[in-house]
């Protein structure tokens, strides 16, 4: 619990990361109407997919920074060597990544949706799908960050490693939102979230042990 508080305090003290991923998302979403068309009738059907892809990219881009400072100042090694449950640390790190990266985007979703001329009910389903889906993104991003921590070019490497794993989340999330909440996709997304929460922190913990031995 203290670990969670520590992470949140660090986030509050330096909100630069959260602002960065927000800016990234707003910027990219602003580029689409410029590149495709300003016509609302053509933009609206693309909205859910575009915002999902932008969220996914923002999470991937922010991931390597979430461990870099811990690795540099040795606190990652401390945590691995201490008898603290490592999976809990990985879970907390994922939560911190989610709070700093996915949560701001989730709160911004109505504005992003308005930029793409999405109707309100679409925006609601988009936010619901992001609520269920984005934690999975954060858990996988933390796995990727742990795999690449301490390597040079880790920020370029991480998306290559992790993006294929995010495909099911992307598919289920966007399908759920575009079908207007068809139960099957919702259940599947929730099941995927449960599965990820109970397995990925342990996988990340295994990788953490390898990472500090580098």
């Amino acid at each position: 619990m203290t670990l969670l508080l520590r992470e949140l305090k660090i986030l509050l003290r330096s909100p630069a990361g959260a602002i960065q991923s927000l800016m990234f998302a707003v910027l990219v979403i602003a580029l689409f109407p410029l590149a495709i068309t300003p016509d609302p009738d053509q933009l609206a059907p693309l909205g859910i997919g575009l915002i999902w892809v932008v969220t996914l990219l923002a999470c991937l881009l922010a991931a390597d920074k979430s461990l870099a400072s811990d690795y540099a100042d040795g606190s990652l090694e401390q945590m691995v060597l201490s008898d603290y449950p490592l999976w809990w640390m990985c879970l907390v790190k994922s939560m911190a990544h989610w709070v700093s990266c996915a949560l701001p985007l989730l709160l911004m979703a109505p504005i992003l949706g308005a930029m793409l001329a999405m109707p309100l009910d679409r925006i609601v389903w988009l936010m619901a799908s992001l609520v269920l889906g984005s934690p999975i993104l954060s858990l996988f991003c933390m796995l990727g960050a742990m795999l690449t921590v301490g390597l040079n070019q880790s920020s370029a490497l991480l998306p290559i490693l992790i993006a294929p794993f995010l495909v099911p989340t992307l598919i289920l999330g966007t399908q759920w939102a575009t079908t207007g909440g068809e139960a099957f996709y919702g259940y599947m997304l929730a099941a995927l979230l449960c599965l990820s929460v109970v397995t990925l922190p342990f996988a990340t913990a295994v990788v953490a042990k390898i990472a500090v031995s580098r």
Partner: protein
């Protein structure tokens, strides 16, 4: 049993014993693939729906099967290297990844060459093609991690973990792509799912699959033996072998 396992786990023993397998595999793959190509290109009948273009099946389907099973083999080797820390299993993971990536690319290329006459375009977001593409990205991830992390032991272990997680995720990816595909486009015409193929067609197909496997193990073995002597270059047995 355990002694046998340990013997084959030692690079020196493996190198010397596996040398005898090379000519066998080489002969087998040349013969089987040669017969398969002749059977598939010349003797097998044309399809009543697809005409002569169905002959692409005899290289596409074996490549696709091999692509999937080579990922599975890589992940199993990765698991073995993680659990028992066998040097040879780690070398096996490293050497099978590029071969698997090449085979996956081949499956994609032949698939799109088959798609052009059948669908009218080189690329269709068909469930099978899409999941093969993702499989290629998974191979690329393992390769990229390996290249970035260098030759150290921990690099191998990290790549192994990634491979194992990839294998566990493969069914989830496959099912989600299938759902996505059926939602957008009800399966009307898939290339390979057909009611009861006659023997004149699955005969050459089976032969090509076996031939592809023989080739795959040959290529893997050559690569693995090269990797082993490279890693063990400072030991006596490699130095003696070089002298000869």
């Amino acid at each position: 049993m355990w002694r046998w396992f340990h013997q084959w786990g030692s690079p020196k023993f493996f190198y010397h014993r596996s040398g005898a397998l090379l000519p066998v595999l080489a002969l087998a793959s040349v013969l089987i693939l040669g017969c398969g190509v002749v059977w598939g290109l010349l003797i097998a009948p044309a399809d009543y729906q697809q005409g002569e273009s169905v002959r692409i099946m005899y290289v596409h389907v074996p490549a696709a099967i091999l692509a999937q099973s080579s990922y599975a083999m890589m992940a199993i080797m990765a698991l073995i290297s993680l659990i028992w820390r066998l040097k040879i299993a780690d070398a096996a993971v490293q050497t099978v990844a590029p071969i698997g990536a090449c085979v996956t690319l081949l499956a994609l290329a032949t698939g799109s060459l088959w798609g052009k006459p059948m669908w009218g375009t080189y690329w269709v977001w068909d469930a099978r093609l899409t999941s093969t593409l993702i499989l290629f990205f998974l191979f690329a991830g393992v390769l990229a991690l390996r290249n970035a992390a260098g030759q150290s032991q921990s690099a191998g272990r990290a790549a192994s973990v990634l491979a194992v997680i990839g294998l566990l995720n493969l069914p989830i990816i496959k099912y989600s792509v299938d759902w996505w595909f059926t939602l957008h486009q009800p399966a009307s015409f898939t290339l390979t799912e057909r009611p009861a193929m006659p023997f004149s067609m699955w005969g050459p197909l089976l032969m090509m699959v076996v031939g592809f496997y023989a080739w795959f193990f040959l290529a893997w073995l050559i690569r693995l033996r090269h990797e082993l002597v490279k890693r063990e270059v400072r030991t006596d047995w490699v130095q003696q072998m070089i002298k000869q």
